[in-house]
């Protein structure tokens, strides 16, 4: 089965090995886009979060077949011509990472919030960060990075 979709702005085509092929496996194995990580396989940890048609999705539970025609964004597609996405810069500024394995998930989750709501409340930040596990940071600095992203956007006049 052939699916065609937009991946980080570029056209992508994949022959699915089987109908239950998952988006995370298509990205990581078929397309060798390994920026998206695999954490638990049951949608619990959020490590594999990508953005499909504007919404955050656990790619480990997303049937790739349903992405036919979709617009898929992953961590690899955030920076533009070498300029980091505001959210990526915010994570660096706030030292909001340690081992880094969950960071693609956290960054994509944060992007999905901040692009819709550039000035989130602390409660909205907490709820969003809550959906992705991190075993290293204790989340304090990750939530700081959300606030930093909002501040950077404001400074750049984008919010």
């Amino acid at each position: 089965m052939l699916i065609k979709f937009t991946l980080n702005g570029d056209p992508a085509e994949v022959h699915l090995k089987s109908a239950d092929r998952l988006l995370v496996d298509v990205l990581r194995e078929d397309l060798q886009m390994t920026g998206t990580k695999h954490g638990c396989g049951i949608g619990a940890c959020g490590t594999c979060t990508v953005i499909v048609d504007g919404a955050p999705v656990s790619s480990c539970l997303q049937l790739a077949a349903l992405c036919d025609g979709a617009n898929v964004r992953t961590i690899e597609g955030l920076d533009q011509a070498g300029v980091l996405h505001t959210v990526q810069q915010a994570f660096i500024n706030k030292t909001a990472l340690q081992c880094g394995i969950c960071i693609p998930g956290h960054v994509m989750q944060c992007v999905s919030l901040i692009e819709k709501n550039p000035n989130p409340s602390d409660e909205e930040i907490r709820a969003s960060a809550d959906s992705v596990y991190c075993r290293c940071t204790g989340y304090v600095k990750i939530m700081d990075a959300y606030r930093e992203a909002a501040a950077l956007l404001k400074k750049a006049g984008k919010a």
Partner: protein, 1077 residues
């Protein structure tokens, strides 16, 4: 007062890089997805591996038949113990084979492995391996392991004793005799899994007789040594390269068989092989924290001076030893250097059990020791009538103290830590306003900075080059596992070299390239490797300045290096030359030389003897932590309000990274204390994944105050010590102390659960409890394990159905063997992963317009079954008009989860504990279904009673408008505070008349039966608000609930919670109704 006076005179004018929050060295690749973890590796022709594990806790292997697996297309190698060197290996007590030889000793023990062209084929192949076992009696607890005549886990370990040691320092009996107050108690701790979000993995490839292993190990050189033993080849034939490490915490320190199996498969297949633990395997077969039973007795003078300490400890080794005997030592002696103990006696025993082997985990035994001893100190404070803060402070070690085991405190600001932690949480102020249910607790801890464990050396060796491009390169094999090693070592080198931080690079460990290193363990890297790098940088700097001296024709002491520029002190800018020019000129000349500094540094510590006497580390770090809680007496639930954590780690090299270490450690401590546990049945975790075993998530963490003591360690690089582990150790004890302060309940066994507290507070509510023997769990991962089909792979390729119309969908569904892909908890793929049957056909209904509609109908709503929960919650009128339903969607998780979860997915499976159906039952909702013979509309409660017919598809739910003066509420009771199936959930709708009397009320309680239970509330009709009457009306739920005992609570706790949560929800709905005009 600052202690910076001890600073190296060279840096008198202040530090330029150390102490600054520079951008982390590894930040850019980690925020762009470019960082290469082992699972991201791909080599040409690479195969994928899977492992067959034992379903028995103890059994003889009678035979293994691999023929069906070997002949599967795509399978390139199948191995068993026969393909190994049959050599036992292990860090201290070699007792583990790479693959079982004749015997398995725990559920998860490696039996056979497969390499195939893709991961699916490899997993499918292990299901085809037939193993005949003869099950043997097994020991599942410390008590069973030490019972007379207990079955032996290893035939050469009599009494199941893997290791034992004892000591007495001073005169303990005399100390107790002189004591006015003596306290004692026994505390038990539990297994905790590292749960790094990256699991253990390896890619291995042979080139003639040499194997290269790309491992996410914390300790590449120690791993190489052990793997060479396990493989039965000389160390010279093994090369270990560290990949990016996605979290370690002790769990990736080279005690696992994963890498060894990958290497054996690679040898047999002649191809590169990748083996990555699944999340489930990480639970079954990594080396979690070692549980201990810890009896401690402390003696004090009236004034509060500690006079004697005695402990007796038994630790659960699991089936194989790994590092456990060293952990036993740490947990026995370390704490004796925290307070001024004059006399100490201990005996500690490491016992084999038929459970998953235990090992190193952040804290290395100290969290279990602190769990006991720091609670004993709290008991003592109570008995002595002294505030615990004052008692701990009075007895805290100070600089110059020497412990009974010769631990020398060269820098120790524990008193400062205690004072600051108390101040940050406003201890004294809050003490004055003590209320029932509110409590404060404190705990302290001490940790090493490296430990002489693996022979009489705990040093580090580093090379620092200054290159012809003006940049410097640090060459060290210590490695980065996320804790910030690269950043901190770069800062130290840059400071010493006089180069900008950005101009220093650092290399990834490769045993072929780097000097011998011990790696990330025992909080040693900043202290030990930092010193080695500092020395190497100083040596390189010396060579550079000598070269500059020659080139500038000035003595070295008249030159200076600032920010990568060299020139005369106080010289004009134009006189300065870049470092690159100096280096290049030093190379490109007759007899020229590159600038290469080598630095070696050995921890100034002693190799402890068998009784653990000896100063195991050159320096010690300290922490004090204070916790504030509210305890809910009605449920036993603990609300963590604030935590303060103050650490003495000497000079703080990178403040933000240091805070991050402490914040992360505190949260892991919270996890150990209250969140991370699952159920076991006959030695098997019943659900080894992130459902029953959750991690702390962002919403659960309290307000944290992190601080650092003003401290300087003379032997540390720029005065620094380590801090990786210390932040975790005392957290569980501090939480328990706060709970005891709040409600007088002293918890002795981890984890701290709401149920344990509730039982202690309300024993009368458990008086009629009938204990039934534990039943094997139904379904789930457990059943896969015991039925010998562990992989969970689908033995066939499913067909994907994507009907365009409802009629087409109904027709296809009626044909049978079709699972509807509906997202969320009941997502077809997720259900299969967790052990439910696999359907031949997957039907996607999310593009059928009829099922995506939300329509107003007689002022009510009809909601299509394919509507996702996020779309529904965004309906503006929902929260105002059907609060109970909106709140049930809030409870279902987060935006991402709700976006992937549909109404049909939540309601269709008719599961009594899901949130949305409970709310819908309270709203008297109807279901609309379709089958070939037509559509039907009937009550959701009827659907629960009768279940859907095989060909009947849920297509919508319908709710009516609520009458005037109605209020509703939903409550999900998740004592662990993380998203999963609740202990109980409840939904209530109340309608009042103009005078505030109840006209109608409906309460549904979920998760305590196979369907939501509806309370008979007729006694409340016509009545005004009366909490006692409401509670009386709800109380019968306790009797007709039929809860299953599981990890969320015993049956009796759930019965009690059905009443408590039901009553609270009903009260809330009533109050909301009363607010309506």
């Amino acid at each position: 007062m600052s202690k910076q006076i001890l600073k190296d005179p060279k840096f008198e004018s202040g530090l330029l890089v150390v102490g600054k929050d520079v951008p982390r060295a590894d930040a850019l690749p980690k925020v762009t997805g470019a960082a290469q973890y082992v699972a991201d590796m791909h080599l040409p022709g690479m195969l994928h591996a899977a492992v067959l594990r034992s379903p028995h806790a103890n059994a003889k292997i009678l035979s293994i038949d691999t023929s069906a697996a070997r002949t599967m297309p795509g399978v390139k190698a199948v191995i068993t113990g026969e393909d190994t060197a049959k050599r036992k290996w292990g860090a201290f007590r070699p007792d583990l084979y790479p693959l079982a030889i004749g015997r398995v000793r725990y559920v998860g023990d490696e039996v056979a492995a497969v390499a195939a062209t893709d991961p699916e084929t490899a997993r499918a192949a292990i299901d085809k391996i037939v193993v005949q076992y003869e099950p043997l009696p097994a020991v599942f607890s410390l008590d069973e392991a030490m019972a007379p005549g207990a079955p032996l886990v290893h035939d050469d370990a009599a009494g199941n004793i893997a290791h034992e040691f004892a000591f007495e320092r001073g005169d303990v009996d005399a100390g107790f005799k002189a004591s006015d107050v003596v306290v004692e108690g026994t505390w038990d701790s539990v297994r905790q899994w590292h749960s790094s979000l990256e699991t253990i993995g390896c890619v291995a490839q042979w080139n003639s007789n040499r194997v290269t292993m790309w491992c996410n190990t914390q300790t590449p050189f120690l791993a190489r040594g052990r793997y060479s033993v396990a493989l039965g080849v000389p160390e010279a034939q093994v090369r270990v390269i560290q990949t990016e490490v996605g979290g370690g915490f002790g769990g990736k320190s080279g005690d696992d068989n994963c890498s060894v199996i990958a290497a054996i498969l690679a040898r047999k297949s002649g191809r590169a092989v990748k083996l990555i633990h699944t999340r489930e395997e990480e639970f079954l077969a990594s080396h979690p924290r070692m549980p201990m039973r810890y009896w401690v007795r402390l003696g004090f003078s009236k004034a509060g001076k500690v006079l004697a300490k005695e402990i007796r400890m038994w630790a659960d080794n699991g089936a194989y030893t790994g590092k456990s005997q060293a952990i036993l030592g740490a947990a026995t002696v370390r704490h004796d250097a925290l307070y001024k103990y004059p006399n100490a006696r201990a005996k500690s025993t490491l016992l084999y059990t038929n459970l998953v082997p235990t090992g190193a985990f952040r804290g290395f035994g100290n969290p279990s020791a602190d769990w006991a001893v720091e609670q004993a100190w709290d008991l003592a404070a109570e008995k002595l009538g002294i505030d615990v803060v004052d008692l701990l402070r009075m007895n805290a070690v100070v600089e110059g103290d020497v412990s009974p085991h010769n631990h020398k405190i060269t820098s120790g600001e524990l008193r400062q830590c205690i004072d600051k932690a108390a101040d940050l949480i406003q201890w004294k102020e809050k003490r004055k306003h003590k209320k029932d249910g509110h409590g404060l607790g404190m705990g302290c801890s001490i940790h090493v900075n490296g430990r002489r464990s693996f022979g009489d050396w705990d040093g580090s060796s580093a090379i620092v080059r200054i290159n012809e491009d003006g940049r410097a390169t640090i060459i060290t094999g210590e490695g980065e596992i996320g804790q910030g090693t690269y950043t901190v070592l770069k800062q130290i080198a840059a400071e010493e070299l006089g180069l900008p931080y950005e101009d220093v690079d650092i290399t990834r460990p490769d045993t072929d390239v780097h000097p011998h290193s011990l790696g990330a363990l025992a909080s040693r890297v900043t202290y030990v490797a930092g010193n080695a790098v500092k020395r190497a940088a100083a040596e390189a700097n010396k060579q550079l300045m000598a070269a500059a001296s020659e080139q500038f024709k000035k003595p070295v002491d008249e030159l200076t290096i600032i920010n990568g520029q060299i020139g005369p002190k106080n010289g004009a800018e134009s006189e300065y030359k870049p470092v690159s020019a100096v280096v290049r000129a030093n190379i490109y000349k007759r007899g020229g030389e590159a600038i290469v500094g080598v630095g070696n540094w050995d921890n100034p510590s002693e190799f402890p003897d068998h009784s653990r006497f000896g100063n195991e580390s050159g320096a010690y770090n300290f922490a004090a932590q204070a916790v504030e809680v509210d305890v809910d007496r009605g449920t036993g639930q603990v609300h963590l309000k604030e935590i303060s954590a103050v650490v003495d780690c000497g000079t703080v090299i990178h403040p933000a990274a240091a805070q991050g270490q402490v914040e992360g450690a505190v949260v892991q401590g919270i996890g150990l204390a209250m969140i991370e546990y699952f159920d076991w049945h006959q030695g098997t975790p019943t659900d080894p994944q992130y459902i029953d075993y959750p991690l702390p998530s962002a919403d659960f963490i309290p307000k944290m105050h992190i601080g650092f003591a003003d401290s300087y360690e003379p032997s540390g690089p720029f005065g620094a010590k380590g801090l990786g582990e210390i932040g975790l150790d005392a957290i569980p004890a501090a939480i328990a102390n706060a709970i005891a302060d709040a409600v007088g309940v002293r918890i002795h066994t981890l984890p701290i659960t709401a149920e344990k507290i509730h039982r202690a507070l309300h024993p009368e509510m458990y008086a009629d409890e009938q204990k039934t023997p534990a039943q094997p769990p139904k379904g789930g991962v457990w059943s896969r394990l015991v039925t010998g089909k562990p992989s969970g792979t689908r033995p066939f390729k499913p067909e994907l159905l994507q009907p365009k119309s409802l009629d087409e969908a109904v027709k296809l569904y009626a044909e049978g063997d079709t699972a509807i892909v509906s997202g969320g908890m009941s997502h077809a793929i997720r259900r299969e992963r967790t052990g439910y049957p696999q359907a031949k056909r997957l039907m996607v209904v999310s593009r059928i317009p009829d099922l995506l509609a939300i329509t107003n109908k007689n002022n009510g709503l009809q909601i299509g079954s394919a509507v996702n929960q996020q779309t529904l919650i965004e309906r503006p009128e929902l929260r105002e008009r059907w609060t109970v339903l909106a709140e049930s969607l809030d409870a279902a998780g987060h935006t991402r989860v709700r976006g992937m979860t549909t109404v049909g997915g939540s309601v269709g499976p008719l599961i009594g504990g899901f949130d949305m159906p409970v709310a819908l039952v309270a709203l008297n909702a109807r279901v609309v279904t379709a089958a070939v013979e037509g559509r039907k509309t009937y009550a959701l409660t009827e659907a629960f009673d009768k279940r859907f017919a095989k060909d009947e598809m849920l297509i919508a739910v319908e709710i009516d408008a609520l009458p005037a003066r109605s209020g509703s509420a939903f409550h999900k009771f998740l004592p662990r505070g993380v998203m999963e199936t609740p202990t109980a959930n409840a939904a209530a709708v109340v309608t009042l008349d103009a005078s505030g009397k109840c006209i109608a009320a409906r309460l549904a309680v979920g998760a305590v039966s196979w369907k939501p239970l509806i309370a008979d509330l007729s006694a409340l009709f016509g009545k005004s608000f009366d909490e006692a009457a409401i509670r009386a009306a709800v109380k019968p739920l306790r009797e007709f609930a039929q809860p299953m005992a599981n990890v969320r609570g015993s049956a009796m706790y759930k019965r009690n919670m059905a009443v408590e949560i039901g009553a609270r929800t009903l009260i809330r709905a009533w109050q909301r109704a009363a607010q309506q005009k």
